[in-house]
């Protein structure tokens, strides 16, 4: 006998880092439809941005997300710099890459830890977060803050990395890299973990393209899309290999994130090595002209878009944010349809949901 009922998953659920509700329409243990309900943490951030000075908005943009905060401020600054036709020093571009990649490592370690917690491997969760602490220490020592760095400014960056700090970063990265293989083996080669991840939440390549998936979710399905390849900031001068999966299931999404950790470690090392000497910022005067710009950047979760329109005053006419989690929600709903109820936490965590970003 088929019994149909609806289960509300969230907004408060042990596995969810932030509040989002999924109405799961079930037939016995199988999900036949999933509907999202968002709006629990809407802050009206886009409207606040229009009322503040465009320089104050750097701090506002940074607070859109608590995990990838630096990248939000970087994208905003890049957008305003393009709008005002400001050329920033090369050293500032490299410094931005270094902090952006440390953010990517800490974000990936955070979500891999939460994934381990979601499938009941609490020990692995703790150990991944212990490694993440070392990355947070790097950020604290170089910028003065652990998560909201506050170093990105229009025209460059506010702090420099001295040769001593550079040595410290390299030492810490080496220590992090030494710990990773053991943890990643537990994540990718363990029999029980594989049972929970392989073949779960499959998103085929054509469907990923059709639904507009971005970031590791799209790359795990075989789509070659990484905005870092466009060469913004200093990425054009640094070599890196894009990590792409095949199957598009939860295991491939995890594998993409694990391999991206190593890519980011290499990128930081390369940036520290090639970073030229010189100033770290230029003075910016005036106001954004009455023009518009679409700023794009590769966040840990995927492509982040800012639409910025100026009006010749110190306030912006419009500031629109499109975050990667918002783009990945249709893909999540597709993955949930047809899966078992017990797989929902793993699938939901595997898109790396950041609801605060999504609702702004």
């Amino acid at each position: 006998m088929i019994r149909r009922n609806t289960i509300p998953f969230g907004p408060q659920h042990p596995v969810l880092p932030e509040p989002i509700q999924l109405h799961l329409v079930m037939e016995n243990e199988k999900i036949i439809q999933a509907l999202p309900a968002v709006g629990y943490i809407h802050r009206g951030l886009e409207k606040i941005a229009e009322k503040k000075d465009y320089i104050q908005d750097v701090y506002l943009a940074e607070r859109i997300c608590g995990i990838c905060s630096f990248m939000h401020s970087q994208n905003y600054c890049q957008g305003i710099e393009e709008l005002m036709k400001v050329q920033i020093p090369d050293r500032a571009k490299y410094l931005r890459v270094i902090w952006a990649e440390t953010h990517r490592i800490h974000s990936h370690l955070l979500i891999l830890g939460l994934l381990a917690d979601a499938f009941g491997f609490e020990n692995l969760f703790m150990r991944l977060w212990k490694v993440r602490e070392q990355i947070l220490n790097i950020m604290e020592k170089t910028t003065g803050a652990r998560v909201i760095l506050g170093v990105c400014a229009i025209g460059g960056v506010k702090r420099d990395i001295t040769p001593e700090l550079s040595e410290y970063i390299l030492r810490e990265l080496e220590a992090v890299e030494k710990q990773l293989p053991e943890l990643m083996d537990s994540l990718l080669k363990d029999y029980s973990v594989k049972q929970r991840l392989i073949g779960v939440g499959v998103l085929p390549k054509d469907k990923a393209h059709e639904l507009g998936a971005v970031g590791p979710v799209a790359r795990a399905s075989g789509l070659r899309m990484d905005l870092r390849e466009t060469g913004y900031a200093a990425y054009g001068d640094l070599d890196f290999k894009m990590v792409v999966g095949e199957a598009g299931d939860c295991y491939d999404r995890t594998m993409v994130r694990v391999k991206e950790l190593y890519t980011s470690l290499d990128l930081i090392r390369a940036a520290l090595k090639r970073m030229p000497q010189g100033p770290i910022s230029v003075a910016v005067k005036g106001s954004p002209p009455a023009d518009e710009v679409l700023a794009r950047i590769e966040q840990p979760r995927g492509e982040l878009n800012f639409y910025i329109r100026g009006n010749g005053t110190r306030n912006l006419e419009r500031f629109r944010v499109r975050t990667p989690t918002f783009a990945n929600l249709p893909a999540l709903l597709h993955q949930l349809t047809g899966c078992e109820l017990a797989d929902v936490p793993v699938i939901a965590i595997c898109i790396d949901p950041c609801v605060s970003c999504t609702e702004r």
């Binding site: 503040k52 320089i55 104050q56 701090y59 607070r63 020592k141 003065g144 909201i148 702090r159 083996d185």
Partner: protein
């Protein structure tokens, strides 16, 4: 299995990762953005810091001469320190105590 046993013995013999707080306190690195303070004797009450504060945490008046910081609104961005023409605003390493 061998890895697991190795890991257990390594952890048993290595020192703990946590600090014995409150007996041992974590040392904050140089440059940590903490509590904002002012050397009021040097201040000219120009109001540049108030204009730039993104969270409207500062209130400056010339008559009577006053400089007030709301610690609950302050996001410790350090912008006031940068714009101050007299360089009289300073940031301590320590954060605000709970009874500010």
């Amino acid at each position: 299995m061998i890895n697991l046993i190795n890991s257990i013995f390594r952890k048993l013999t290595s020192p703990t990762d946590c600090l014995r707080y409150p007996f041992v306190k974590r040392e904050l690195p140089e440059g940590t953005r903490g509590r904002i303070d002012i050397e009021i004797d040097k201040c000219t009450f120009c109001g540049a810091c108030e204009k730039r504060c993104p969270s409207n945490a500062l209130k400056v008046t010339r008559d009577p001469k006053s400089w007030t910081l709301n610690p609950y609104s302050c996001i410790i961005c350090g912008y006031c320190i940068e714009v101050c023409p007299k360089k009289c605003i300073i940031a301590h390493k320590e954060h605000y105590s709970p009874n500010v």
